[in-house]
């Protein structure tokens, strides 16, 4: 199976979304870096093989997997039941909160203020669909407009340029953007009331052995303290708990 293939090839190929800082992005040499990239490197090291990071957009994750261009997608992908009908997920290796990102001078303080604002998010992300679903149920006649962006970074750009009043992003990204002055004066906005976003690694649905291996790898990352290390390096602050209280799996 895939596990044997990777071991035999001596190379692990990971799909990583590279416009999703700090999980995946390009450094000033345009080389891929980020927490997902380090995860990939750790996994390869554990298997004793080389690693290769294949940069993908949100939309390319699945074709890359199915075509066998990559062995695993470490691409901050939310583990929805709908998606799991198409691909196989590991246990979560990361969890995000969703948060609004605002311009420094915006007068949005509470989540409800977004009802009448122009809000954006990256297309195809979980928080996009969560936000749209929330909007439909809670603010059925909201006057604010919604805009999707092709990538996370574009949404930062858009809010800094004032194309929208707020964008919904992950808490990890938000913290990062606000600390950088690249996009001008931005500030953290209210946290979304809808749930946390657990993301897993993905591979082909039928690769049980490979999924087992990946699950154990994630488990060991946390047990060994490597996860906390990476979290401190890329995000900072208190690492979140990846377990769900009151559930076996």
């Amino acid at each position: 199976d895939k596990l044997d293939d990777v071991l035999a090839d001596g190379e692990l190929r990971c799909a990583v979304v590279l416009d999703f800082p700090p999980m995946g992005f390009r450094d000033s040499n345009n080389e891929p870096v980020g927490m997902d990239v380090d995860m990939c490197a750790d996994l390869a090291a554990a298997m004793g093989v080389d690693h290769q990071v294949v940069g993908v957009t949100w939309a390319e994750r699945i074709p890359a997997l199915i075509s066998g261009k990559v062995d695993v997608a470490i691409a901050s992908s939310s583990d929805t039941l709908e998606r799991a009908q198409t691909v196989g997920f590991t246990v979560p290796y990361m969890v995000f909160q969703f948060q609004a990102l605002l311009k420094e001078d915006a007068d949005i303080t509470a989540w409800e203020d977004l009802e009448s604002a122009r809000v954006g998010a990256a297309v195809g992300t979980t928080y996009e669909s969560e936000f749209l679903a929330y909007k439909d149920t809670h603010w059925p006649d909201a006057e604010g407009r919604y805009v999707s962006f092709q990538s996370e970074n574009e949404s930062f750009l858009a809010v800094s340029q004032g194309q929208v009043d707020a964008v919904i992003v992950t808490d990890t990204a938000a913290a990062n953007v606000v600390n950088s002055d690249k996009y001008g004066e931005l500030k953290l906005g209210p946290v979304a009331p809808f749930g946390a976003d657990y993301v897993g690694m993905m591979t082909l649905r039928q690769e049980y052995g490979w999924i087992n291996y990946l699950n154990l790898f994630i488990n060991r990352q946390i047990r060994s303290g490597r996860f906390d290390e990476l979290y401190a390096k890329w995000i900072g602050g208190e690492p979140p708990a990846l377990d769900i209280p009151g559930v076996y799996y």
Binding site: Q85, G120, S129, R145, S148, Q163
Partner: protein, 225 residues
Amino acid sequence: MDYQFLWRPVIQSLPQMLGGASVTLQVSVLSMAIGMVLALILCFAKMSSFAGLRFVANIWIEIARNTPALFQLYFFKFGLGAVGILIDSYITVVMALAFNTAGYMAETFRGGYAAIPNTQLRSARSLGMTAFQAQVHVMFPQLLRAVYHPMTNQFIWVILMSSLGMLVGLRELSGETQFLYSKTFRAFEYFAATAIIYYLIAKLVLGLMTLIGNKVFGLNRGGVA
């Protein structure tokens, strides 16, 4: 091939995709209408004796014709944003496609104009028509006929290129498809259905335009030559 095709989700979301298709049509018709008006203005600007006008028209036409449509779209999206002009993706797409259409059709108008034998204008003037009357009653109907076919092609092109809306977050047919796809990860099925819908739209519009063309210009009303 291990992959199992699963068409049920596609069929279930067909209404949503058709909703996207109607946005595609709206955007295309709007871009086309604005683009044609701009094209006519550009065409006259380029033929005008005022150097400033000619310069602007030339710059516009050359940029529209010599850079990718996607570049033009990014330009309207990021470029205008960077100088603080706020537009949403719908208007961005319409602006970019209209900009492009204007550049291309301006040249078509000019070519169509040049293709009308000059005895036509002379005949009209020799009958005592004013320059304006000659343009309106003799030249323009022939111009319209001459550019009708290229205009139809441009219209189809605009419909197909409006799929770039997906890349700036517009939920037209492609954007809607991408949204649906990201929920289920069924890329092939969704985009195959989308391809079929585009094909049908293109054929439908072509048929309609041909029908209108035959009705308005008549098969038996040949042009000169």
